[in-house]
Point group: C2
């Protein structure tokens, strides 16, 4: 069974394009999902996210269960209506944020007990409750299994135990999800940097059977080279006819290298977080608009862009807004970055479809060393 | 001489409608000018300000001369191009902010020396320099004379001396401005709460001759009743064929009462400042979106509004965004408030044109006592 048909369109080396069909619309892959942590992609209107080219966004179970509360979102018609996003939404399981944001937490076979970073209140998250929140209350189109995010670095034995717990939670998440025609569930490969653990995790998930397979536990400090190595070792064991999702990644160069390794989906807060910190992303890398060299630069960030934030406002004005800590600076740079990431994905898809991804990849790396002008 | 023709369209009691014609477009009066302090109406895109109905905005000389610097704005093509607002812009003289924001300051006949609130640097502002900044460097359509903002409360003698200094600065501002075909300059009536000083100030300004006359030194703590009393005593001496501008005002009820007294133009940071603090303005007064009663209210702020912020987002969602301190909460409420203030002005203009302003005014006061629902 699978709820969402995934059609591969082109394969070019390890990279591939495809379409993931959902009741709320098609998703062209490789796809980058803007992150709408607290039911908003920060500093953007939903129309801007859609017009930038995003076909799916991510919502955070941890944040939403604490505020405004999953039951409340349900009573208000679900996450799509609540935040005015009628395209597909993928929600994470809450596990990662429990590890990174909450205070005291206790991990047991049953699940994890933690204290809210907002008010210190105590909460218990199990695979079953996570799926209930994601699929039933928020109404996510794609739910993620609850997993333990293995810390980095991690000894082999501990990584193995953690991966095995995540596998048992995968089964319980899958059972709790059951069979649904209009919603999907993805499993998450863990295993830290150990190739055989990654293989065992992937094999275990395949036996359970998911609509898609995510690679978790990366971009946690292992570095670019190690991430690529683990990706190579992991994708080998993932079914090629199902979408592969690299969680929480990343910088544009990470996206290019992961696409080269057969990844189909990404999410990251980077475009909007960078935007709020005065950074604009480009093919030349990140550009700090606070830099004095932009103070009287009348040119836009990218005159060839369709995005008004990239095309219509001068670098001098953006420099001023960032220096003055104005809302509009964060708004415009978050918008520009969101459009840039979507455009990067579109250019990668076009290159793969034209069987010239290696050229694109080489050009991308060449540009990365050059100055932004 | 006058650069900008001002045509009165209708008079209804003390209230009146008109059109102020400028090379950058007509301004229907009574008009409310959104404030673009640092070359941005906070948390709004310029298109939203225009689409909300604003035909003119205000820029702050004090802020812009300190950052990014008036000469820099000039080199970048002037304030209109810099901030992407092609409609008329009125700039204040910088005097009020020197009084309210800067640190050490020294007032002399020549002008005022002050320290920047940003970096402590020392600056000297004279009537001539203020006009140079406004008219020549920023390229304001309407410049304001430099004045001393009389403190409140103020003894009669001190108020008289202050008003007389402002009159001498009015003459110097007018002389510095000279004759211009495509730009205008307004004088500012001072005199604190003393009717005869207000009269003397107005008469002095008329002798000099300005394109419009502003009422300054109000909304500084004197209270609603006193403001109305001073307005009554001031407008009596202002020419009826020139626009009258009440500076820094105000709440919707202030606007209604000032329009009843023949005021044609307003500016205030209230719509956007309130928006950043979780407040939505309505005919029923300000509404605090943080209030728990909105937590599950699926209705928009105003379903009959043309403004997407007022019409398309639920109060429950706005409540959530404000509680979560999300950018989008400030963005939507600033947008709603800006549209509400413009709509209030449009409704007043329509009521005056239909000779039913007194009914509008009574209905407005009646509603103000009722709960927002």
């Amino acid at each position: 069974m699978t709820s969402f048909p995934f059609k591969l369109l082109a394969v070019d080396g390890g990279a591939r394009t495809g379409v993931l069909k959902t009741p709320r619309g098609d998703i062209a892959t490789p796809a980058f999902m803007p992150v709408g942590t607290a039911a908003t992609v920060k500093a953007l209107y939903p129309e801007q996210v859609r017009d930038a080219g995003a076909q799916i966004i991510l919502g955070n179970t941890y944040h939403l269960m604490l505020r405004p509360g999953a039951e409340r979102v349900k009573r208000l018609g679900g996450l799509h209506a609540f935040m005015r996003w009628d395209g597909p939404i993928l929600t994470d399981s809450g596990g990662f944020q429990v590890w990174s944001l909450s205070g005291l937490r206790k991990l047991e076979e049953d699940g994890v007990t933690f204290k809210s970073h907002l008010d210190g209140s105590s909460h218990h998250l199990t695979p079953e409750r996570s799926i209930e929140i994601q699929a039933d209350l928020l109404g996510a189109d794609i739910s993620m299994q609850l997993d333990e995010c293995t810390p980095f670095p991690c000894e082999r034995d501990a990584a193995a135990r953690s991966m095995e717990l995540s596998l048992r939670w995968a089964q319980r998440s899958r059972d709790a999800f059951g069979e649904r025609k209009t919603q999907a569930i993805f499993g998450i490969v863990q295993g830290s940097v150990y190739d055989d653990l990654r293989r065992d995790s992937a094999e275990g998930l395949k036996r359970i059977g998911f609509d898609g397979y995510a690679v978790g536990g990366l971009a946690v400090g292992e570095g670019f080279e190690m991430m690529c190595k683990v990706l190579d070792a992991t994708t080998l064991f993932l079914p090629s006819d199902r979408p592969r999702y690299l969680m929480g990644v990343g910088k544009p160069v990470d996206l290019v290298e992961a696409v080269a390794r057969g990844i189909d989906m990404f999410d990251c807060v980077l475009p909007t977080r960078s935007g709020r910190h005065g950074q604009a992303w480009s093919d030349y890398g990140p550009v700090n608009l606070k830099n004095a060299r932009f103070a009287e630069d009348p040119r836009p960030l990218d005159e060839s862009s369709d995005c008004p934030a990239s095309r219509d406002y001068s670098r001098a004005y953006l420099h001023h807004l960032v220096k003055a800590n104005e809302y509009l600076g964060s708004m415009l740079l978050s918008w520009h970055n969101t459009a840039y990431f979507q455009s990067l994905m579109a250019r990668m898809r076009a290159a793969i479809d034209d069987n010239r991804f290696e050229t694109f990849r080489k050009d991308f790396h060449d540009k990365l060393g050059q100055p932004f002008d």
